[in-house]
Subunit: 361 residues, 2 copies
């Protein structure tokens, strides 16, 4: 069941065939951490990202060689590709020529006088542009006016860029207003959401390694999505970007926005727990990683409370001394030896999900 | 700088000397995963929790032997101790006799007819009680009325318990309305916050292992704290409870509610990155783990963008080929060899924080 909530009505923008905004499902995206000039490594990482659920992928275009690599990368991937440009507008022009499905530009480091040429090239190619405002590289006018990269400064910078794009008749725009400060990020997106209808790309920037990134992104992205704001999300993790998928889909599942992949609930264990639940949880998480089917799997530490406490789960194990109870929807099904917990659970899950259509919404 | 925000004004409740509610700082708590009857192991885990920042600790009281162990545990710890009781009200009475600083009871599994005796004992001992409603073990009347453990069902169960406590003149109450469903949990706490002024203990129950627990807890607890709701928090992690402190303080820092411990910001790395930032971030995180001093540490993947993008950081490293720039508040200080990154950063941080008073608010 996907929760209905009042989502802010935004305009639709397409990146390849993927719709962003106007009621489309919230799209999950990521960015490669490879050197884009290394075509083979970049393709390989993109494929791993796609298997993990990535629906749009961005690559850094740091120089002409990286821009020139986009054509070759595009030939070997199916997911739409976004070229990330800083400083040099010529890299944007070359990325568009190479077939990028969208470009991201940072108005803080590409002078307005060069943007006209980029906008016309994007329009001629029929692709979208993300205006990616960033607290760490805000344009000088906004920074000077507000003295610091506050939420208002991010919003003003975005609005000024929109004005320029619109003056050239270009409206295939999505916006991001990222900050490493979670509260500034929340405030900036709330404000821009009241002021424009362009679809929003949500993210907390420089969020750190996995656990810290999960915390900051879950709060920043979670608070906004819960208010109906946001059309596509990117979780930034320092490390393997495949980890970003785990966090992104975890956020969407927790809010009932997209039910993709298993939701594993497991008790925090206490003095009543008679099995090594942490080890069991890790094993089950690993065994189910990357599965798209949605079901609620409960791993409970005691036979007495377990099945009842997890009655909402589709399936679960409640562990006792050396053996446990397999239960479905709160009802005990059979007794299972502790060594068979993972295998038994997987067999039952496979039987439950076989024939189910994979539904990414 | 601690952000001022409109916090819901709640009543004050004391657990030992620790104030919950009425404007006190949001208190971080945890629960042991040891067998409470194993006094030595439980004391050792409590000490680890306290070193990591735990301000209130709860232990499971699964039987008479566990209740009897509370006195001995109390003698060896300084942090206030809460006894967690299910099913058997006599365990609550024994825990109070043993000197517990508060008890947690679950109205879903302790019959109202036995609660009077527990409430009188708590009143005579001058301690507080947490009414801990839980979606997985809701009382039968509420469950029957609503058909499922919905937010409304959790709220009704809590309100009925409050009525019973108040009818006996007992008001040293805090409340929790936990669910493994993040949206139900948010809705339940919002609703109860409108209906009573008792302080609220926030938590998402059965949240899973570290990363999933970080996601669910950050959204559930984060959304509520950001609305000014919540007086004490517990992050539930399947695994070593010390991990709960990392997530709890991460949430409080991200929202600017309590600035305890270093905030490490690091870029997600991209094709422009010339150092192994993920390894550096992990090393720095480990080296700074458990530190109470608040400062913003930036780890950036490129020398060109790094210092500027992280100008808000107190200190940082921007890495290039084989060496990097140490910077403070966006200004380059000196060049450092890659092998010296961690040591150099630590020495500078120690110099910056020496003499600073440890301030847990």
């Amino acid at each position: 069941m996907v929760l209905k909530r009042n989502r802010k009505k935004t305009k639709a923008v397409f990146i390849g065939p993927v719709q962003i905004g106007a009621g489309a499902p919230v799209v999950v995206q990521s960015m490669t951490s490879t050197d884009t000039r290394d075509v083979k490594a970049t393709i390989s990482q993109i494929r791993r990202l796609v298997r993990a659920g990535c629906e749009l992928v961005r690559v850094a275009v740091q120089d002409g060689e990286a821009a020139a690599a986009i054509g070759a990368i595009k030939q070997s991937i199916t997911v739409p590709l976004i070229a990330d440009i800083h400083f040099n507008y010529r890299l944007a022009l070359e990325s568009i020529r190479q077939g990028a499905d969208a470009i991201r530009i940072n108005p803080g480091n590409i002078p307005a006088k060069h943007l006209g040429e980029v906008i016309r090239a994007a329009r001629d190619a029929g692709i979208a542009v993300r205006i990616g405002v960033n607290s760490g590289s805000l344009d000088k006018t906004a920074l000077k006016k507000f003295g610091a990269p506050t939420a208002d400064a991010l919003v003003e910078s975005a609005l000024r860029s929109i004005e320029l794009f619109e003056s050239l008749g270009f409206t295939s725009i999505k916006l991001s207003l990222k900050s490493s400060d979670v509260t500034a990020m929340i405030e900036a997106y709330r404000s821009i959401s009241r002021k424009t209808d362009y679809p929003l790309h949500l993210g907390v920037t420089e969020a750190g390694s996995l656990v810290q990134a999960a915390i900051k992104s879950s709060i920043g992205i979670g608070v906004l999505l819960n208010e109906g704001i946001g059309d596509t999300i990117r979780v930034s993790v320092t490390g393997d970007p495949v980890q970003e998928m785990q966090v992104a889909y975890g956020i969407l599942r927790a809010l009932g926005i997209r039910e993709v992949g298993p939701d594993i609930i497991s008790c925090p264990t206490c003095g009543r727990c008679e099995i090594d639940l942490a080890v069991l949880a890790r094993k089950v998480e690993r065994a189910l990683a990357g599965r798209k089917e949605h079901l609620k799997v409960a791993l409970m530490g005691c036979v007495v409370n377990g099945p009842g406490e997890a009655a909402e789960a589709d399936i679960g194990i409640a562990g006792g001394h050396g053996s446990g109870i397999l239960f479905k929807k709160g009802k005990a099904v059979k007794r299972v030896g502790e060594a068979q917990f993972v295998q038994c659970l997987l067999e039952e899950i496979n039987a439950m999900t076989s024939g189910r259509e994979e539904n990414l919404e």
